[in-house]
């Protein structure tokens, strides 16, 4: 069967010594990053982007992916032990996880989180393998109008699901698109918005924007106030969960996985929303909802499973359609582009080794995470105590070297500094960077498809609506916009996002 053939190809790629090493490095780094407060997977992936240039494409993606779901996973450790989420999607785990730790059941909580994440990760990987090819086949038949509407929909969905008004989100997305247009216009050869700076002729390097927004701006923001943070770490006794705990968790894990898998595919704040949604859902269907908040093991199992499942399924639109659903996925796409691989449905047919190798290595990575995390708990908790004043200089040095190494260009570094300031200003104005980053990545392709669609329809903009699939995407966008404007739904969304902030 096609699936088995593809999977065996994938495992063949994933089990090569190099790729195993990259996978291992990726998940270890990812967990480490997930544990450290103040440094998220976004920053890490942004930092490592330029360096993956020198790695082979499969290895680079395997490592970056490992970091990504490793961090989703590692954030739960701090959430449980210290009541500090290492990752935004682990916020919900704090609620019951920390209570379990205070009751001396930290080991059980950690183990359940690990097992739950593993099961969710496996199921997520299977989903990618199952749904990837048919979605890709469908997408390959898309024409210019469909692509345009699809990308627009992704932008609008992301813009609507982040904090703040929909209008602002869309504005950010379009602003990002415009920045993405800087450089030479492929169609006409004209230079746009370069202001005679040679370094801009090829456009703004993606890593420059990423570094500026997610590393520099973040650091500036964190340095606003001198921070003293007391970290009290709960003792971890035994790591074996009780039979009772396991029995109660299995349902939660499966339900959480389902919710996470669904939300992960949607563009927008997939991971964070999914863990929150899984928690609320679990509480609703539980026979003892009052136990939640006091150390209910389901309160740990469900969100952990959800956020790991979401981390996996987020790859589906990214790899099959070339449409990233979040800033992190946009970074992944950026990494692919640095490797010279054009994002889109042709990735599966043009680079099967990369596609299936990546999927197979996700499964390996999930297994590694369980094996790694549990014994190394002591190490991770010690990491928690690293003061920020040691971290941020390291991030600064790493980012600067990374940016410079892309093109040996001083302009890139200076631009990154500018984007750092811009990113900081955006933060102060509560303008979300995620839609901007997505717009930036999709910008040139958006214009290309718009152009082509108009060319084919001879200047008729109705082509986007007369085409059924394209109309469908636009309809979804419109529905979402209207939904987000409706005060009641908007309040629920804001509440959900604020709670997870």
């Amino acid at each position: 069967m096609d699936l088995f053939g593809n999977l065996s190809l994938g495992f063949g790629v994933a089990f090569s010594f190099d790729n195993l090493l990259f996978c291992f490095v990726g998940v270890t780094l990812g967990t480490f990053i997930g544990v450290l407060p103040g440094v998220g997977p976004l920053v890490t992936i942004a930092l490592l982007l330029p360096l993956t240039f020198s790695l082979p494409p499969e290895g680079a993606m395997i490592m970056l992916a490992g970091i990504y779901y490793g961090a989703a996973y590692g954030g739960s450790t701090t959430a449980i032990l210290v009541n500090l989420p290492g990752e935004s999607s682990s916020v919900v785990t704090c609620i019951d996880g920390y209570q379990m730790a205070r009751q001396g059941r930290a080991g059980s909580a950690l183990a359940i989180a690990a097992v739950g994440s593993f099961i969710a990760g496996c199921i997520g990987t299977i989903l990618i393998a199952l749904f990837g090819p048919p979605i890709t086949r469908l997408a390959l038949q898309f024409g210019a109008p469909e692509y345009f509407s699809l990308m627009l929909m992704a932008l609008i969905l992301t813009a609507s699901l982040v904090r703040g008004s929909v209008l602002q989100g869309i504005g950010m997305a379009l602003l990002g698109v415009m920045f993405g247009l800087i450089g030479m216009d492929v169609n006409s050869g004209a230079l746009r918005y370069t202001f005679n700076i040679t370094g801009l002729a090829d456009g703004v390097e993606f890593a420059v924007v990423a570094m500026g927004f997610f590393a520099f701006a973040e650091i500036i923001s964190n340095l606003e106030h001198d921070r003293q943070r007391e970290v009290f770490v709960n003792k971890v006794s035994s790591l074996m969960p009780t039979r009772e705990d396991m029995r109660r968790s299995i349902g939660a894990i499966l339900r959480g996985t389902g919710i996470g898998a669904f939300f992960g595919i949607l563009p927008g704040a997939g991971q964070t929303i999914s863990s929150f949604a899984a928690y609320m859902f679990e509480k609703k269907v539980s026979r003892r909802p009052e136990a939640f908040g006091q150390g209910a093991v389901e309160g740990v199992a469900a969100p952990e499973a959800a956020n790991n499942a979401a981390a996996q399924t987020a790859f589906i639109p990214t790899l099959t359609l070339g449409i990233p659903g979040s800033a992190t996925m946009a970074l992944m796409l950026g990494a692919l582009m640095i490797q010279g691989i054009a994002p889109g449905p042709q990735i599966m047919t043009d680079h099967p080794r990369l596609f299936w190798g990546l999927i197979a290595s996700m499964w390996i990575g999930n297994a590694l995470l369980v094996v790694l995390n549990l014994p190394l708990i002591g190490l991770w908790t010690r990491m928690l105590k690293i003061p920020y004043r040691w971290l941020y200089p390291g991030i600064l040095v790493l980012s600067c070297i990374g940016i410079f190494s892309i093109n040996n260009s001083t302009t890139d570094v200076l631009l990154a500094a500018l984007f750092g300031v811009l990113g900081y200003v955006f933060m102060k104005l509560s303008c979300e960077p995620a839609p901007f980053v997505l717009g930036f990545i999709l910008g040139p392709m958006l214009e290309e498809n718009f152009r082509r669609a108009m060319l084919l329809s001879r200047g008729d903009p109705g082509t986007f609506i007369s085409n059924p699939i394209s109309a469908g995407f636009l309809l979804v966008s419109a529905v979402v916009i209207v939904a987000m404007i409706t005060p009641s739904i908007r309040r629920k969304k804001d509440l959900a996002i604020d709670e997870s902030a």
């Binding site: 360096l51 020198s54 008004s165 209008l167 602002q168 504005g171 379009l174 602003l175 698109v177 415009m178 247009l181 216009d185 169609n187 006409s188 004209a190 746009r192 918005y193 520099f216 650091i219 500036i220 340095l223 606003e224 001198d226 003061p387 004043r389 040691w390 941020y392 200089p393 390291g394 600064l396 040095v397 790493l398 600067c400 070297i401 410079f404 190494s405 040996n408 001083t410 302009t411 890139d412 570094v413 200076l414 990154a416 500094a417 750092g420 300031v421 900081y424 200003v425 102060k428 104005l429 509560s430 303008c431 214009e447 718009f450 152009r451 108009m454 060319l455 001879r458 200047g459 903009p461």
Partner: protein
């Protein structure tokens, strides 16, 4: 006071959108069928400007809808900016080591925490480690001390 986040963000959008559209109109427009380089950016610029206008008006008319703008902390912003710029300017002409040093000095001034010994230690570690990892490990062509 109406200087809320929404208002300022709206203004920002208007500036960016308007500026981009103005520049775009100087490029060749072409027709809808055969778009010139200026068509799409001009379109986008106008839309962004319109969005900014709506946001600003909304925020102006009902300032309770948005939060008051937070203060920009200039010190860390300017110092980090200076540090990265220093790195960028120095790495070509003077080499990696001076560039890192400049970056760390500015970074330290932005952070204000930690003693001098710690700083020296950090300087050493964060210069030696990248040299090993990047220049020798990943073989990225960087000069430690440029001539």
């Amino acid at each position: 006071m109406y200087v809320t986040k929404g208002f300022l963000a709206g203004l920002l959008f208007m500036v960016f959108g308007g500026g981009a559209a103005a520049i775009a109109f100087t490029y060749r427009m072409g027709t809808a069928t055969q778009m010139g380089p200026g068509y799409f950016p001009a379109l986008l610029g106008v839309v962004v400007m319109a969005i900014g206008l709506v946001m600003a008006i909304r925020a102006y008319l009902s300032p309770e809808g948005s939060e008051p703008a937070e203060r920009l902390h200039l010190r860390p912003m300017v110092l980090i900016l200076a540090g990265v710029v220093a790195f960028g300017l120095l790495i070509r002409s003077w080499g990696l080591a001076p560039a890192i040093a400049a970056l760390l000095v500015f970074g330290r001034m932005a952070g204000r925490e930690g003693g001098p010994i710690e700083f020296i230690l950090m300087l050493v570690v964060l210069t030696v480690l990248p040299i090993i990892v990047f220049i020798y490990g990943l073989r990225i062509p960087l000069e430690i001390w440029a001539q």
